[in-house]
């Protein structure tokens, strides 16, 4: 009735059985060798290869990413360089333009100044020439007037005074 007691007494559970040990060994070893040859080998190889393949893919992706980053970096560098170049060119152009404009303006200014000066000088010369002419003319007229006065009045000294004062007046008036 008491199961546990029966088990203890019977001793059947712990009986050694060489036949069973023998068959266990044989069966297990056969299964082990067949499975090792036909299943575990291919399976473990496949698993390892797949792991390697995945690792390779990851590595390749990493390399590709690094390369792409490198290219991107180079591109942005080039772009920055091109930007700087363009800016430089624009700045230089502007500077050149400014300088050119300043030059031209200055030159024009100088030219104008020069022309004005020339014109002034010319005017001055003309005026002087005209004055000289006028003086000559006035002198002639005076001479002619004097001739006439001389012809009419022989008081030479008196007349000379008159002429002198007249010339003086003329020269004062001119200014």
């Amino acid at each position: 009735m008491l199961t546990t007691g029966f088990i203890m007494l019977s001793g059947g559970l712990l009986d050694p059985n060489p036949g069973l040990i023998f068959w266990t060994t044989v069966t297990f070893l056969i299964v082990l060798f067949i499975l090792k040859k036909f299943t575990w080998g291919p399976m473990l190889n496949a698993l390892e290869e797949r792991e390697k393949g995945i690792q390779d893919s990851i590595d390749r992706a990493q390399t590709a990413k690094e390369e792409a980053e490198e290219v991107l970096r180079k591109n942005s560098e080039l772009l920055a360089k091109a930007d700087a170049e363009a800016e430089k060119i624009v700045r230089e152009g502007k500077e050149y333009g400014d300088k050119l404009r300043a030059d031209i303006t200055e030159k024009a200014h100088a030219e104008a100044t020069r022309m004005i000066a020339t014109a002034k000088e010319e005017i001055e010369q003309e005026k002087r020439r005209a004055l000289t002419e006028l003086r000559t003319e006035v002198a002639d007229l005076a001479v002619k007037g004097a001739e006439k006065i001389i012809m009419a009045n022989l008081d030479a000294a008196k007349q000379k005074n008159i002429i002198d004062s007249m010339i003086k007046d003329l020269s004062e008036n001119r200014n």
């Binding site: 009735m1 008491l2 199961t3 007691g5 029966f6 088990i7 019977s10 059947g12 559970l13 712990l14 050694p16 059985n17 060489p18 036949g19 069973l20 040990i21 023998f22 068959w23 266990t24 060994t25 069966t27 297990f28 056969i30 299964v31 082990l32 067949i34 499975l35 090792k36 036909f38 299943t39 575990w40 080998g41 291919p42 399976m43 473990l44 190889n45 496949a46 698993l47 290869e49 797949r50 393949g53």
Partner: protein, 313 residues
């Protein structure tokens, strides 16, 4: 009124007799029930032991039974017994499944994802490979993979065969578990000798202590070598046997008490629960055996030899 209850009782008994063997693979119950009614002189203990122990007969109650051949070679009894038959059945199942899977892997190569049965088996193989072998053995674990995988699936199928109708689990026999543990023992020793050399292996038996202590240490270490496989043996054997004894005992409560109420409210529901637990234990024990084998191999071949091996004792 009395006739009605008798009719009900007969009905219950018949249902129980039909269902229980189907559910638990315990053909002996039917025999016990009928013999209980017939001569009534077979104790529950007898029936339980009959179910647990090895025998020379394959029984398919109530359809009958046949005797297995007796074989005695050179004074050794090499008879084909019930447990041998179930071991061969397990071997056939394993070979059928895994030869198919192995062939599948040969055809698909490594670049394609596996499907179906191969996928399930791959999950198991990966589990053993990474979580059992690689993490416990470490470097050089590949050499031990075939053994660990085979021992895992072999024990698992043997455990599960005990749970099908008319089945018996050979892992509930101490001779079988002892043999498997001896394999682990030899592999462990070979791994230890390979890792440390004969000199290192013998030095390890002194546990690195002062020579004055050797007279104590060497016997202790020597016994320590054998405790590991013995623990493996007893653990698997006791777990599988205990599960079966619990299920059978629960069922026999109703026969002993001759109560259908007990049968309906105690025996059957509790046996179902234990049965489900047994399915889990079948996997768990196969895993533990493999895990501990891997652990022992790992400890034996570990190069950090001063402290690690002690942890296992």
């Amino acid at each position: 009124m009395k006739r009605f209850s008798a009719f009900r009782a007969g009905e219950f008994a018949r249902i129980a007799i039909l269902i229980i063997p189907l559910l638990f693979g315990i053909g002996t119950i039917a025999r016990a029930a009928s013999s209980d009614a017939g001569h009534g002189e077979e104790s529950a203990g007898d029936v339980i032991m009959h179910h647990i122990l090895d025998s020379n007969k394959m029984e398919f109650d109530p359809f009958g039974s046949f005797a297995l051949p007796k074989l005695v070679i050179g004074g050794f009894d090499l008879s084909i017994t019930k447990h041998v038959v179930f071991m061969w059945l397990a071997a056939i199942i394993l070979l059928a499944v895994f030869l198919y899977v192995g062939n599948y892997y040969k055809t698909i190569g490594s670049r394609k994802a596996p499907g179906g049965v191969a996928n399930v088996m791959e999950a198991i193989v990966q589990f053993i490979r990474l979580d059992v072998a690689k993490s416990n053995i470490g470097e050089g674990y590949e050499r031990h993979m075939p053994y660990l995988l085979t021992v895992f699936v072999f024990i698992l199928v043997l455990n599960l065969l005990g749970l099908i109708p008319y089945g018996a689990s050979a892992t509930g026999n101490i001779n079988v578990t002892l043999t498997l543990s001896v394999f682990t023992f030899f592999i462990t020793q070979v791994a230890a000798v390979k890792a440390h050399g004969i000199k290192g292996y013998l030095a390890h038996l002194t546990a690195g202590t002062h020579p004055a202590l050797w007279i104590i240490m060497i016997p202790i270490e020597f016994i320590g070598l054998f405790t590991k496989p013995i623990a493996l043996t007893i653990r698997l054997f006791a777990n599988m046997t205990a599960g079966h004894i619990v299920i059978l005992s629960l069922i026999f409560i109703s026969f002993i008490l001759k109560s259908f109420i007990v049968a309906v409210f105690v025996s059957v529901p509790f046996s179902v629960i234990i049965y489900l637990l047994e399915i889990f234990i079948a996997f768990l024990q196969a895993f533990i055996f493999t895990m501990l084998s891997a652990l022992f191999i790992g400890l034996a071949s570990s190069h950090d030899e001063s402290h690690e091996p002690e942890a296992a004792h």
